[in-house]
């Protein structure tokens, strides 16, 4: 019995060590580009809805089902604009809300119903973000933010006249249970308290300076490209063109390339869930595990065409691997989750990343400490 106890104990420890030595990574990628019927160029947004994936591109809205392109919707189908910047699915009604550079659209039952600045209460036709809050639809535009109540047809507008918008250019929205967060280009982050109807701004305490004078004293920069509320950690994350910030209601934490695993301070979007924070940068896709403080950055290697995976640990050590398949491009615009998989919007198509478990994720070619400095694509 004693021997059995020691054997079992040894097996548990060994498995733990093996797990720690062989974490899982996204090393299997399937890309959707012009080569396989996807629209060319940038993918601005991606939204997962069960087995459906909606991707917004400069040439319309793409619907994928079960991993295949099912339909590409354009203005001929009723979209108000060809450049699709954001998609939100109303889980209650099944309606899909689409933000384009020609207005807002609702896709339901095979029909588009569009709303423009001239024919509705929409603040502006340049729609960057759309999100659902119960039955309400929040819309981020270049001229402020709308909240639409589909039951009454009422459009509320929030801009510099009735909310602390230093700039009216709203880029992104993230909805929490109690607050809605807005990314404002040049205006920081704004939160709207749903119960008390109260706005609160979060701006860079360094003002307009590009240097970070006071680390972790506030938002790292006012040019905020996106915001993501994480209900698990009760933290919002803000991506800027000059670094990444998080705020848990009490403490700020800022991340810069020079002293984190970020490959670039220019971040187009951030998404966070559980212990994961994903930064979509101009030089690759980075995942931060906030529990272990480990960064993993994915990007294509321009020379080899294979995937470059750089792991940066809390103790300062780095570890580089590669993979046979990789992202479609290193300029990452956005991301969404499908269970354990991720769908990534890049400058040259849509990438579907699949996490591989420990054994399969052993490096295929190299396993050596990464050199200092970045490598350019």
């Amino acid at each position: 019995m004693r021997h059995l106890f020691w054997i079992v104990g040894l097996l548990i420890v060994t498995a733990g060590v093996a797990g720690a030595q062989n974490p899982s990574y996204y090393i299997r990628w399937v890309n959707y580009t012009r080569a396989n019927g996807f629209p060319p160029g940038e993918v601005y947004c991606v939204t997962v809805d069960g087995n459906r994936v909606w991707a917004g591109t400069g040439h319309g809205l793409v619907l994928l089902e079960d991993g295949r392109v099912k339909k590409i919707f354009t203005t001929k189908d009723g979209l108000p604009g060809m450049a699709v910047m954001s998609v939100a699915v109303d889980k209650q009604t099944g309606a899909v809300w689409i933000g384009t550079f020609g207005g807002l659209s609702r896709y339901s039952g095979g029909q588009f119903t569009s709303y423009t600045n001239l024919s509705s209460g929409l603040a502006n036709d340049l729609v960057y973000g759309v999100a659902m809050q119960g039955r309400y639809v929040w819309v981020a535009t270049t001229a402020g933010v709308n909240r639409l109540d589909p039951y009454t047809g009422t459009w509320e507008i929030f801009n510099e006249s009735n909310a602390p918008f230093e700039e009216p250019w709203a880029y992104g929205i993230s909805v929490g249970a109690e607050k809605v967060y807005f990314a404002v280009w040049g205006g920081g982050v704004l939160s709207y308290d749903l119960a008390n109807h109260y706005w609160k701004p979060y701006t860079d305490p360094d003002g307009e300076m590009e240097l970070v004078l006071y680390r972790n004293q506030g938002l790292i920069h006012n040019i905020v490209s996106s915001v993501s509320w994480n209900p698990d950690t009760k933290t919002f994350w803000a991506s800027t063109y000059f670094g990444l910030s998080s705020y848990d209601g009490r403490n700020w934490h800022n991340y810069l390339k020079k002293d984190s695993g970020l490959p670039s301070n220019f971040i187009n979007a951030v998404q966070s869930r559980g212990d994961e924070v994903w930064a979509c940068t101009q030089k690759g896709l980075s995942e931060l595990n906030t529990k272990t403080n480990t960064w993993v950055t994915y990007r294509p290697d321009a020379k080899s065409g294979r995937g470059d995976i750089l792991v940066s640990r809390a103790d300062g050590s780095k570890h580089q691997m590669d993979s046979a398949t990789t992202l479609a491009h290193n300029y990452i615009l956005n991301l969404d989750f499908q269970g354990d998989d991720i769908w990534v919007a890049t400058a040259n198509g849509l990438s579907h990343g699949m996490r591989q478990t420990a054994k399969q994720s052993l490096p295929t070619q190299r396993d050596k400490p990464a050199p200092n400095g970045d490598r350019e694509k």
Partner: protein, 629 residues
């Protein structure tokens, strides 16, 4: 603000109740919706004017019970086990749940705005309610008595039906989608997937409006959906009436998709006319099929007739046509003779129709007679008439109401007043080229008949000083193309029209309290200075032409810069603004599809009031105020 006081707000909160109405409430029953108990023993009838539900013993044909429900009950549904009735109350925005055994009210469930058609799902746990004014469907959890959500429907969803397999709820929308006035109308059949409780498909039914009840044939008879409609020819200058030039009446025959989750492309839509070339059967309303699917029955509420359709012949006709000919079939006035077996005269203004489970009898609600006609399907004749106990003396108002729905004064019975003003006075939302000496010019938008008392003159050019002129010689000459109404009939009709009232405006809170946006919008409407402090000339102020003291119209004709080269005049009769939010499109020719368009697209020179100084938020506020009128 002197022009707006709480009392004014409350007075504008129109409720069709004895307390607020200066004209006597109709004492008639006006049966409009029916359900038959599964055993065929009881006929349940919603009576919209008496605010009652009746239970009629089908064997004895006697009314045995009466129960008062909410205001203007217009729809009725039965739970799958037959033990519970649900009645929609259009004017009180709620549903009454009734124990069918005790005939007592169990609870009243608030739903959306203007509920009419309703159905439970197969389990009896979920109720779907069509909200006409909200353009949506309430999904109600019957166990908790609470609304779960609202699904956006088409325009003015009125009647619903559960598919035979329970996988879908079909929603027929009365009005076409709001679209450019020079395009043919397209109506929508909204399909809800009951498993996901979401909208699965929005099926286009082209060229028609006024889809109402829905019946589904059994699979053995083809499984088609049958939906009566009216086909308007509003894009034609109305220079003649014969051969269906104004409009025709027919039925959509839709083959459903195989699966509930399928999109609209999987539904096949065909259309046939129920009219004959020399006789029209105006305003199809109710439809029912016999259990074996052999017969379909459609009520023509303007013709006082039930058309009995041989579904096998109908199916043969449709299947025998190649696709190109099927489109043509939608306009063939000789098609009905192939499949209509009988035209049975019934009571006045037949609305809903139900068939017994053995297929032996059909029951038709004769709304304007307060009776139910009983058709024996074996003999194909009206076997009896059930008197529901309404007043026997016909008032002038009631007489006028009967005329409103009666197409017999029109050439070959092509239309009644209700044909273009459905739902008792609604605008059909279409622009028509009426009575013009210059072909194709002066295309004008239809107008509401709700609360027009005190808004004379009438007609788009303001030339008719009163309703007697509007409905007398003008109607006879240009609309009915016949001798029209007698002078007594005209006066009765006018008595009825003056009694029509706007439904309760759901945008305004019941206590008259304005939201912040509505209050700001009110300030803008009643302002006399621009945003930068300049005085606005009196004629350019909103309230000058839209005076709140006279129903928001000063009853004059004004040039607001909206005349087009197709118009022969520049100044148009100022319309009243009460209920404006419920009747798009706007302007005299309907070219402003939304309220916003009036100022964003069609007021470049500030001729329609000074609005160029308003920013988007202020314009939104103005619209929020207009919505509460």
């Amino acid at each position: 603000m002197l022009l707006w006081q709480p009392g004014v707000a409350a007075a504008l909160q129109r409720r069709d109740s004895d307390a607020g109405n200066t004209l006597p409430r109709s004492k008639y029953l006006s049966p409009v919706a029916m359900q038959l108990s599964p055993d065929g023993r009881w006929l349940y009838i919603a009576c919209e004017d008496s605010d009652q539900v009746l239970a009629v013993d089908a064997r004895t044909q006697q009314v045995t019970r009466r129960l008062r429900v909410g205001q203007m009950p217009r729809g009725i549904a039965l739970s799958p086990d037959g033990n519970t009735l649900y009645v929609s109350n259009e004017n009180s925005d709620d549903v009454t749940e009734i124990d069918a055994q005790t005939f007592q009210t169990r609870q009243t469930v608030p739903v959306g705005w203007g509920p009419v058609g309703l159905t439970t799902d197969r389990s009896g746990k979920i109720l779907y309610v069509a909200n006409t004014l909200g353009d949506d469907i309430s999904v109600v959890n019957l166990q908790t008595g609470r609304e779960l959500k609202r699904l956006q429907a088409g325009h003015y969803p009125e009647y619903v039906a559960l598919s035979r397999d329970g996988s879908r709820v079909y929603v027929a929308n009365l009005l076409a989608r709001i679209a450019s006035a020079d395009e043919p109308p397209v109506s929508e059949l909204t399909i809800i997937d009951t498993k996901s409780e979401t909208v699965a498909a929005r099926v286009n039914v082209p060229g028609v409006i006024q889809m109402r009840h829905i019946a589904e044939l059994p699979a053995s008879a083809g499984g088609y959906l049958l939906i009566p409609f009216m086909r308007p020819k509003n894009l034609n200058p109305l220079v003649q009436i014969q051969q269906g030039w104004y409009l025709t009446h027919g039925m959509a025959v839709i083959r459903p998709a195989a699966n509930a989750a399928d999109g609209p492309g999987k539904y096949h839509v065909a259309e046939v006319l129920l009219d004959d070339i020399d006789r029209y059967y105006a305003d199809g309303f109710g439809v029912a099929v016999t259990p074996n699917g052999r017969w379909a029955l459609v009520t023509a509420s303007g013709a006082n007739v039930v058309s009995v359709i041989n579904t096998a012949k109908l199916r043969r006709l449709l299947l025998s046509q190649p696709p190109a000919r099927q489109q043509e079939l939608a306009n063939r006035l000789d098609a009905a003779s192939h499949f209509v077996a009988e035209r049975l005269p019934v009571g006045r203004n037949p609305t809903d129709i139900v068939t017994s489970s053995d297929g032996r009898f059909a029951y038709i609600a004769d709304r304007m007679d307060d009776t139910v006609s009983v058709v024996d399907m074996e003999t194909m004749q009206v076997a009896s008439t059930i008197d529901l106990g309404g007043p026997k003396e016909i008032s002038r108002q009631r007489s006028g109401e009967r005329l409103f729905f009666d197409a017999s004064h029109c050439y070959q019975g092509q239309m009644a007043c209700a044909t273009c003003h459905p739902h008792e006075g609604l605008s059909d939302g279409l622009a028509w080229s009426l009575e013009t000496p210059q072909l194709g010019r002066d295309v004008v938008e239809n107008r509401t008949l709700f609360s027009i008392d005190g808004t004379s003159p009438f007609k788009w050019n303001g030339k008719n000083p009163n309703l007697q002129t509007q409905d007398g010689p003008r109607t006879a000459m240009y609309i009915f193309r016949s001798q029209g109404f007698s002078s007594t009939e005209v006066n009765d009709l006018v008595t009825y029209l003056l009694a029509l009232r706007l439904p309760r405006n759901p945008h305004l809170a019941a206590n008259g309290q304005l939201t912040d946006a509505q209050a700001r919008g009110r300030e803008i409407f009643f302002r006399d200075k621009t945003m930068d402090g300049k005085l606005i000339p009196p004629l350019d102020r909103c309230y000058t032409c839209h005076s709140p003291l006279t129903h928001y119209t000063s009853r004059v004709s004004m040039d607001v810069g909206t005349a087009t080269p197709d118009d022969t005049i520049q100044a148009f009769d100022v319309p009243q603004l009460e209920g404006v939010a419920t009747r798009p499109p706007y302007l005299h020719n309907g070219e402003a599809l939304e309220l916003e368009d009036i100022w964003t697209k069609f007021n470049p020179d500030d001729k329609h009031g000074i609005t160029s100084d308003l920013n988007k938020a202020q314009l939104n506020d103005l619209i929020e105020f207009l919505k509460i009128l």
